[in-house]
């Protein structure tokens, strides 16, 4: 797992492989949880080491006036006391945030012997898996439980896919084909109404007759 120097290494003039790693490094931050030892590898503001989010999002007003945004945790630890340099003196509002931050920091102590450790938070085994990250960055939106029901049935896969198409209105009915530039009659060839998915299965008189026969 990571060598802390990677995040400070340069991008230009390196190999394609290394540049590829630099392009995806922002994804690593989604799951990495730092367990601080001596604090020399953990970035004070950027990495998640205290609480569930990086300190720069927990205390944005303090981060905006800090002197060095890339400072490590070890740099801020001054023999038993915490000190962070700011570009100017703090206003009363920022002073309150600083007190709050100090309260949080109080609970952590640096251990000069131990190295910083990184835990992967997205997988229950706590070590990195490609699958956990893939699953984390793929879904955009909420999990829809109704869409899972189709896949739980014990039907042959091609019928399941047919149901999936039916559920999401992706069947080749005339109304959908028209949108894709198909030339032909838009009316149902059995009863002469406009052919949409609902009509094919429930609206058409022939379909209703079939349902009655079952």
């Amino acid at each position: 797992m990571p060598d802390g120097n990677f995040f400070n290494s340069k991008y230009k003039g390196t190999s394609q492989f290394w540049q590829g790693l630099h392009k995806v490094k922002h994804l690593f931050k989604w799951g990495a949880l730092y367990k601080v030892g001596d604090g020399s590898l953990t970035a004070f503001w950027d990495d998640v080491w205290l609480g569930q989010s990086p300190l720069k999002t927990q205390f944005p007003n303090l981060f905006s006036i800090c002197e060095d945004p890339t400072v490590t945790v070890a740099d801020c630890w001054d023999h038993g006391a915490w000190s962070v340099n700011f570009r100017r003196s703090l206003s009363s509002r920022e002073g309150e945030s600083w007190e709050e931050l100090l309260d949080l920091l109080q609970s952590t102590d640096l251990d000069q012997e131990a190295r910083d450790d990184i835990i992967w938070d997205l997988d229950c085994s706590k070590s990195f898996t490609t699958k956990s990250l893939y699953r984390f960055i793929t879904p955009r939106g909420v999990c829809i439980s109704a869409s899972q029901d189709v896949w739980r049935t014990k039907l042959p896969l091609n019928i399941t896919i047919f149901f999936w198409q039916l559920q999401h209105n992706k069947l080749q009915v005339v109304a959908s084909l028209k949108k894709r530039g198909w030339t032909g009659e838009i009316y149902c060839c059995l009863c002469g109404e406009v052919e949409i998915t609902n009509h094919v299965f429930f609206g058409c008189s022939v379909a209703r007759f079939t349902w009655c026969c079952l």
Binding site: F17, K25, L27, T130, L133, P139, C143, N158, Q165, K170
Partner: protein
């Protein structure tokens, strides 16, 4: 003396393309060709949509995984592979055009998010590379 062959750039070593310069679309075009070659003997017209889904996911999607573990592939290559897989899923190996009834982004979403669970190669490429960090 050592019975080694002298290579010339760009070359392939252990299946990974290597070059002095930046590898572009040309260097990775083999991945798409490999997919197309794999399709030929399958005779997609005798397959059901379920069979095509399984073959797309299990076979076609996993062809580029090894190379994706080393390089962040150009967007054009991902697009090319998507079009091969999409074409196979909707029309099989037939030449005649079939309508693609759903967007590829919809198909490549996981099953519990209204998709068919086909692997999204770009996302997979990124997750595979993070492994190195």
């Amino acid at each position: 003396m050592l019975n080694c062959k002298l290579g010339i750039w760009p070359m392939r070593y252990l299946g990974i393309p290597l070059s002095k310069h930046r590898l572009g679309n040309m260097a990775f075009a083999g991945l798409k060709k490999k997919m197309v070659r794999r399709l030929d003997p399958w005779k997609g017209k005798h397959l059901s949509s379920g069979g095509k889904l399984v073959l797309t996911n299990a076979c076609l999607s996993s062809l580029p995984i090894f190379t994706m573990g080393f390089y962040l592939l150009p967007k054009g290559i991902h697009g090319g592979m998507d079009s091969v897989r999409g074409k196979f899923f909707w029309q099989g190996a037939r030449e005649e055009f079939k309508y693609h009834m759903a967007k590829w982004e919809t198909l490549s979403r996981p099953k519990d998010h209204e998709g068919l669970g086909i692997i999204n190669t770009h996302t997979m490429n990124e997750s595979l590379l993070v492994k190195w960090i």
